[in-house]
Symmetry: C2
Subunit: 599 residues, 2 copies
């Protein structure tokens, strides 16, 4: 037997017992002729003491270097007075080595495990060493705890996990598919699923009633900090439940999970906010509710002002003028304001007008800003009154298409809030509800589904699908936590005639719909129950809970932002024979590049 | 609220209560002016009664056809005397409908849900209807129960689930990979994993100590009845445990799972049998232990007989002569023997010699067979004594390369055993151990890994890797249940120098090894712990437990044997634009075919 206890679990209860431990030499110190080894396993560290009078054992101990794998048998002793380490669960004891076996040697690792400034490239190349670091061990444990706790809850509530296919049909809707050439069917391809959406709806048609799955999904998108080519979704669907019932059951799940895993009490119930209100007050459909700042609507006031930038935005169809008051923002330097101006530029804002409120009582004269002269007294009064600005505050302005204003001021709100201490700590979940069915796809001059084309319209909004699609609300809901969308879903369309109306509104012809989603449309005709559900992004949720900087820190073997695995060197080139079997070839130009690279 | 109870859960406890139920109209009967509807949900059926005095409700009930989705509110009444159905959990009650709402209509299904002779093509095309059938509902529930029970056990024993990548590196070892072209890296490909083998070993190097994962694996092989392009593996790995400890812990898991899920007591402990013994006695490394037949070794006896077929096989290096006694087989007809002869032909046997034992006491004269005249008395005596044949038995013979004899007689043993009632019922698990490290790859005249090249040699067999590879045994083990290999694994090599020796024996050069498995070889140098594990094939295990005919019956959305999904029509052709983005094109010939098919 290679061990009787985990290293990190030995304590006063084991005093005077003989234990056998296996693990890694975390550190070796020689002190006063005695060798001390911190032996590490996944449960923690314990101090092993090798005395020189144990000649053979001592000789072995002298050979030990960092990260050697050892089996140690010895007696658990109390640490001598003055050497107790209260920061370590095993800090009251030490193990006096009777015998040590080197189970495996180790080269000197390419980096120190306790180095806090490691380059991510080095970490990802030697991921098996990076994962030894306690923070990564904890992240993976947390991730497991979260998924296990969710699974247990769903089990207790009658949900059953059902696996859906990984090799499925390409549907050129949404993001780019990852394709898999078929050997058996020349010229044809499977696609890796972007989500199990259609399959889970079919499982409801099949009568499974309550389904879940924790599964990989794939999107071949341009990567951003919080995206991976493959990601994990907690996918849930139920039949015969309203949107409120669905929200209740998953809200309870998340609240219970936070309590179980982190001992955190989330509010009960989570607040709910219509999409329109979220956009109005926060410029975002996933507002960070910790931030105490809010936008102020000014579009109506600015319709008649002299300042062209504001007036044009206020008069424009779909335009917006809004303010963001920053309490105490009067101390912002020119440089800081310039940086914020550059920041909102990322979101398409052409500038960032502001007013410093020096002294409210002085009226126009108490306001400091290049734009004040272009605003009449009514407008200035409205700005001060509506924002509730007082001496020492600063007010930022956004004026453009609503989309630009919302994205720019929404992002600025979060940034300023966190940078200037205008945010609370803790966990602030929120349901955003009453989403529109459609958003305008300006580029293609058509309506696009805001969620996906299977989302049910709100009760009474069915007729709007044709008469005024922009006004139609849906039965969709997003769970937002501290500014991250952690989950989203909807009640689905369960009647074929409603589904057809939505496809019509989306300008998808009957033929096209049949070609892409024929099996779902067929299924809806054979007794589809009312159903709905949602999906959580597990990677994001755990990243948030872990306080990690990147979702890569909660994934055991992630890809880089260039969609590559530095450890295995995937993707890689393959044999011509493999391609031939799959009935494909590289495009000429690429072929040449690959050949050159090989030589 | 769409329901207060599941249909299948209403019983005497709810008498006189008003309940709301939602489900499918399983059957509608009109009887004496009253309409009876069997309302079905995933928990079962309940009888709904619509009386004509409820005029509006009755009018709705008249519209109802099979598979309509209904919401019914009514009072639970005892069934009238004489109409109680003791076969139904809800058979003592009925629900007197107060109101009925048609939540969704249904076209007439393309098949009757209770039809027992459905073509699999029809079932797979309309899988969402096929899955409504109670047998399929039960199969999916069983599958979920199995995976949940395994997850719970592993959790309680300190294993944590860690997800490994789906998009990984192609390793041209073992079966054919499914490839995924990379958009970001022109000319390069990901592969879908054939198993998480290398990643789980790396997780052990990373110190996670106990890992598991229930995950999809992919093999682009020619499909057989029990294979799917994607299949689900229960993958387990642990550090610092011997093969016996690993076998114990997973054996306990499987025993507990059978008890929990099926209330079946498996033997404790499972018997263990060396590979050589299994091949000798059963001609198989996954013998069905329910079958009471055994092979009898005759190679030594046949070295000197006149009968050339036997003598040649006995004298051949790697040849074997063996017998299979069939008690009572004397009644087998010529036709039956011919059929068995054709059957062993599938396995390469060139014939199927036999002796009918009419009267042992008569010696040679009591034996009936064309081959008796070619066998001397010593040989005949040995055959009778060793097989223990008595009057009325029949003895089959195999004589060829051992591989052919074993496969032919091993398969014949199982077939004859089950067909002639020479098999016990119940569950007969077995561990097969002491596998050889290598098997001879005659085609390429080299040694091939019997399990995989990361399997550790048995203690003391390290030197044999070079000196006599064919004699080296491994630390591999397979769990066999009723003739199916349900799980297999091994202790892995954790030291780089042993891994190198194995690669050498397999004739894999250092460069090739580095190219293919460099990251694993690197990892072994940085303090890899002793580790091992195994993997269960979940599809097979559940198929066996369900008594299903095919693994397709325990997979929600399986592929056909032609690796296609009849429901979604995957794989399918994709846009040229998609291929261009992936830097690939179809091979010329295929391109032409696809174009023709489109027009």
């Amino acid at each position: 037997m290679m061990r009787t206890h985990y290293c990190g679990a030995v304590n006063r209860d084991h005093l005077q017992q003989t234990v056998t431990l296996s693990g890694w030499a975390h550190r070796r110190r020689d002190h006063g002729g005695v060798i001390f080894i911190d032996l590490r396993d996944r449960e923690g560290l314990v101090q092993v003491v090798c005395n020189p009078d144990k000649v053979d054992t001592f000789a072995i101990a002298e050979k030990i270097r960092n990260e050697f794998v050892l089996k140690v048998t010895g007696r658990v002793n109390p640490r001598p007075e003055g050497t107790v380490n209260p920061n370590l669960p095993t800090g009251e004891i030490e193990v006096i080595a009777d015998s040590i076996e080197i189970l495996n040697a180790s080269l000197t690792p390419p980096f120190q495990l306790d180095d806090e400034n490691l380059s991510e490239n080095v970490r990802l190349t030697h991921r098996y060493l990076d994962l030894r670091r306690p923070v990564m061990q904890e992240n993976m444990k947390l991730r497991y705890r979260v998924s296990k706790t969710l699974r247990d809850y769903l089990d207790q509530h009658g949900f059953m996990e059902i696996e859906t296919p990984m090799l499925t049909r390409s549907t050129p809707e949404g993001a780019r598919d990852y394709l898999v050439p078929s050997r058996v069917h020349p010229g044809q391809f499977f696609a890796l699923p972007q989500s199990p959406q259609l399959f889970k709806q079919l499982l409801m048609v099949a009568g499974f009633d309550r389904y879940f799955q924790i599964t990989k999904c794939f999107r071949d998108e341009d990567l951003r900090a919080d995206r991976q080519p493959e990601f994990t979704q907690v996918d849930i669907e139920t039949s015969f439940m309203s949107e409120n019932e669905i929200m209740d059951i998953v809200e309870t799940m998340i609240r219970g999970m936070f309590k179980t895993v982190m001992n955190v009490d989330l509010p009960n119930p989570f607040p709910r906010m219509p999409y329109a209100e979220a956009m109005g007050r926060y410029g975002s459909d996933k507002p960070d509710m910790r931030v105490t700042l809010e936008l102020t609507e000014l579009s109506d006031v600015m319709k008649s002002v002299e300042f062209k930038v504001f007036r044009a935005a206020a008069d424009m169809e779909g335009g917006r003028v809004a303010a963001l008051k920053v309490p105490g923002g009067g101390t912002l330097s020119r440089k800081e304001i310039d940086d914020y101006t550059a920041f909102v530029g990322i979101y398409g804002a052409k500038g960032l007008a502001y007013i410093k409120v020096n002294e409210v009582a002085k009226g126009r004269d108490g306001l400091q800003s290049p734009i004040v002269k272009n605003l009449d007294d009514t407008a200035l009064k409205a700005i001060i009154e509506r924002t509730g600005a007082t001496d020492g505050d600063l007010i930022f302005f956004g004026a453009d298409k609503a989309k630009v204003v919302n994205e720019a001021l929404g992002a600025l709100r979060a940034k300023v809030g966190h940078e200037r201490g205008l945010a609370e700590s803790g966990w602030r979940p929120l349901w955003v509800v009453d989403f529109p069915m459609f958003e305008r796809d300006e580029e293609n001059n058509r309506w696009a589904a805001l969620h996906h084309p299977f989302t049910a319209p709100a009760d009474g909004h069915e007729d709007l699908l044709q008469s005024d699609p922009g006004k139609a609300l849906s039965k969709a809901y997003d769970m937002v936590l501290n500014g991250w969308e952690v989950g989203g879903g909807s009640v689905r369309i369960h009647r074929q005639e409603v589904q057809s109306k939505v496809f019509q509104a989306l300008n998808i012809s009957a033929e096209e719909a049949q070609e892409k989603f024929g099996f779902l449309l067929d299924a809806l005709q054979f007794g589809a129950p009312p159903h709905g559900g949602l999906a959580f992004g597990l990677d994001r949720l755990v990243t948030l809970m872990a306080g990690a900087e990147s979702i890569r820190d909660v994934i055991a073997f992630p890809k880089t932002q260039r969609a590559a695995c530095l450890m295995t060197q995937a993707p890689n080139t393959v044999d011509e024979k493999q391609l031939r079997e799959l009935h494909i070839r590289l495009r000429q130009q690429v072929q040449t590049q690959v050949d050159v690279a090989k030589n």
